[in-house]
Symmetry: C2
């Protein structure tokens, strides 16, 4: 399981704690830091694989919970796997399904065995064990699989969080024991562990320490962005990220805003995913080089200029703010696609710029610039 | 206003009454017979101009009523016209707005002056006169403009239909009087009249005779596909189309199914528009070389083959029926785009095949083949 002669991940450049790297997957390499668009049920909402290629997405995420329930992981396996099914030939990471089983379904309960839950679609009963979550992801044919974990809600007391962290570690060990990747070494999928620990630094430490020595291909930080304040999240990240193994990719799950991303990179995070850019896009909130804007605003009604003059995407090269506003106000389906295309391009460019800054040794200045942008924007928002 | 040395329209080949031709517009030539996708409010629903180019759309239609209300024709004029606003540089035909003012809005009423109506969006009062409908379309920068007409509902008595036909002719004369195309002769927009007459052949004759001698660039048949049976529509078409001027383009408005299209072409129609292929697409009904299918059907759940092996479109080259069914059942936004892309490709190919058959002198056989397909499909549908 150890990478041995094959280098799954290499840090190619450091700038402070920030890293530029390269992750090898069965569907090719991924340059880091990277943001992964979320393709919940086998589709990044409103976009086709042609759009994703056009905007330069290097890797996307699929949700195990959703794909398991519909259309089913076994159906996808019979259809030749998730890549063929979705017509996406670049890497795909799948989460473990634990977070959605807990957050989306009624009557979910955790035991040593796994997570018992009812489908949010039809109320049917299901059980995710660590072994089953792994098998589902193997059926999907994921490039990067995540171990089943328990993500505790914000405010969970110490005693429960401690028990939960210990169980998550036992689940990780069970997953590892069940993991026997098929095929050639070069083509095997990767398996990442998820560290937890709620909002207690000593439990975060314990979680990392209990997992870091095991032969996982990468390590995620889970259980953040669940209702805590930004400062609290950043403090926990500052505490946790340096504890993770230096030579393995580090993935901050479900986070976040552009500011969160550059902050995370500054702490040494390599990978991110979040529904924010696509969900915001569908709500008309767009990221630009001068900050966040709502395309609904009246001032854009006759604005013939591009959404973001600094953006190279199809949307900014082709349409005016006036047209984008018109599409959105008129509830045109096309608005969802164009807005999503743009926001994901913004995120991709943000990651590319971060990588470039790391390689040039100017990451601190880059991070400060983005932070200033989003702080000034927040105060603009408050004044409206 | 007569075409003079400039040939607005040329019939390049005849096969029985069917014609292959070429229509010259300010945004380039259009080969006929042609089907025009409907871009109601400046967007063919769920598709971008990139998709429309990819599927080979030669001309699209915009609805004057919708664009007038939102974002407004004057705004579009200030933004450089509809082509620039929508980033579509091929021809655009706009309807007169009369049909929607009557069918979508509450409290519409017809007088000699025009159509008075309330906006379906906010209840505001508006008046479309023939002159105003023309001015709106000039503001939009349409390539082919339609005169304001009255489309009477199915079942309208003879006396009212007769009065209405006479008024529609007077409105056409007023439109012509107000029409003073700007710019060079080669670049001027075209103006089409709309013949009416309900379901009375003598009134259809009278409408055509009162309009055909005037210097319009083309002639439409309106007021069909409003609830009559297929046979009744075909009989009226067989009666009306031969009355229209030979050398001018003939446009059958708001029609229809693939069978309607090949039947219309057989009578000598050159142009069509209809929401059917895009609306059906959004409902999961897809046209294929073996007839209509509903992508929802359970039998497609594990069908790894292309939607239509005979179709060259992006969707059929890229995705399986299983994936398309999954997207649709999961209410993924992408389903709307892919289904629309496919159905409009089917319509474009149908028109291309019709044109080819006309050029090869085999149109009757082609029409019979399509008719048999849709008749056998209807009986399959009944047996389910």
């Amino acid at each position: 399981m150890e990478s041995g002669s094959r280098e799954v991940f290499a840090v190619t450049r450091r700038d402070g704690d920030a890293r530029a790297g390269r992750l090898q997957t069965p569907h090719g390499p991924v340059k880091t830091p990277v943001f992964m668009p979320v393709g919940t049920a086998g589709s990044v909402k409103a976009l086709g694989p042609d759009d994703l290629r056009k905007l330069g997405a290097r890797i996307i995420l699929g949700n195990t919970y959703h794909l398991y329930l519909r259309p089913g992981d076994e159906l996808i396996a019979r259809q030749g796997g998730i890549h063929r099914f979705c017509a996406w030939d670049r890497p795909i990471l799948t989460d473990s399904g634990g977070f959605q089983a807990f957050s989306l379904s009624a009557l979910s309960s955790f035991s040593e065995e796994g997570i018992s839950f009812r489908s949010h679609l039809d109320g049917s009963r299901h059980l995710f064990t660590p072994e089953k979550a792994l098998r589902i992801q193997q059926n999907l044919g994921s490039d990067i699989m995540m171990v089943l974990d328990e993500c505790v809600p914000y405010g969970t007391p110490y005693a429960y969080t401690e028990k939960s962290v210990e169980r998550t570690t036992r689940w990780a060990a069970r997953t590892l024991a069940a993991f026997s990747p098929e095929g050639e070494k070069e083509k095997r999928p990767l398996l990442f562990a998820i560290t937890q620990g709620g909002f207690f630094k000593d439990l975060r430490t314990r979680s990392v320490e209990s997992l870091a020595g095991r032969p996982f291909d990468g390590f995620a930080v889970g259980g953040l962005s669940v209702g805590e304040g930004r400062q609290e999240m950043y403090e926990l990240l500052a505490h946790t990220i340096p504890l993770l193994p230096e030579g393995k990719p580090r993935y901050l799950m479900g986070v976040g805003t552009p500011l969160d991303l550059v902050t995370g990179i500054g702490f040494g995070v390599d990978m991110f995913d979040c529904v924010l850019p696509t969900r915001n896009a569908r709500n008309g909130t767009l990221f630009t080089s001068v900050g966040k804007i709502s395309i609904k605003r009246r001032e854009f009604a006759e604005d013939g200029g591009p959404l973001d003059p600094a953006c190279p995407c199809y949307v900014c090269r082709t349409f005016s703010r006036a047209y984008l506003r018109h599409l959105f106000m008129n509830k045109e389906i096309l608005a969802l696609r164009l807005n999503s295309l743009h926001n994901l391009t913004y995120y991709r460019n943000l990651m590319d710029s971060a990588r470039r800054a790391i390689r040039e040794g100017t990451f601190a200045a880059f991070r400060a610039r983005i932070a200033a942008l989003y702080e000034s924007i927040s105060s603009v928002k408050r004044s409206i």
